[in-house]
Amino acid sequence: MLLIPCPHCGPRNQEEFAYERTLDSVVRLDDAPDAAVTALYTRANLRGTDHEIWSHLCGQWLRLTRDRMSHAISAVEPL
């Protein structure tokens, strides 16, 4: 059960957070259709570290750099 450091509230348990998607799968409104569909429908799904977008129930969106094997969080930035 992860302890995730919310940039606004500080460390809180995982139940207060929700995973959204990886950073590279954000679909920009001005992306060309092909690029948008690719971003929407493909994921690196690395068996290692990736940049993920999460949100905390205080309304803070955050970017986690997290290892999918160990769950270790190596970096957190507010979004």
Binding site: P7, H8, C9, G10, N13, E15, L57, C58, G59, Q60
Partner: protein, 163 residues
């Protein structure tokens, strides 16, 4: 013995500042302090609670939404939200026990003291906790979840009295 005094919130405004605006300038314009993350300020007109990265709650009839909106100009906005919350005032020395029964937040920590604000889950409901002092802590519960939360807390042995 800690008791739960339950009642509507009365007057409550949500003050939202845009990202990147200067909090100090906005506070100056509004005429009251805008507390830092996880803190609350109690003023004669009411309390100001920091509940999100760019959101403060203005609790109490002393705040005029229009006047504050005017003062903020185009650095923020004010919205009335009183109807959506029920206030559960915990009165008694053992109020931390309730948070530990149905939440997962370190309410027993020495720095969870007066003036602390926390947004967290209590009995699966997203609540706002405002520590007033050693004997009083206010919980703001979403109105639609109030009956569920209060029933579970009564079931856990916490006494409910009318506000």
């Amino acid at each position: 013995m800690t008791e739960m005094l339950v009642g509507p919130v009365g007057a409550l405004l949500s003050l939202d500042l845009w990202h990147g605006t200067d909090d100090a300038a906005a506070a100056l314009a509004a005429g009251f302090a805008l507390p830092a993350a996880g803190r609350a300020e109690t003023l004669p007109t009411g309390s100001v609670l920091r509940v999100g990265p760019r959101r403060w709650w203005l609790l109490g009839a002393g705040f005029s939404g229009d006047a504050i909106a005017q003062a903020l100009g185009d650095s923020g906005t004010v919205t009335t939200i009183a109807g959506g919350w029920v206030r559960v005032q915990l009165v008694g020395s053992t109020w931390r026990g309730l948070l530990m029964d149905c939440g997962l937040i370190d309410a027993e920590s020495p720095d969870f003291g007066p003036g602390t604000v926390a947004v967290t889950l209590l009995s699966h409901a997203r609540c706002v906790v405002h520590v007033r002092d050693a004997m009083r802590c206010d919980l703001f519960v979403p109105a639609s979840y109030a009956e569920h939360c209060l029933a579970q807390w009564r079931d856990l042995g916490w006494q409910q009295v009318a506000a």
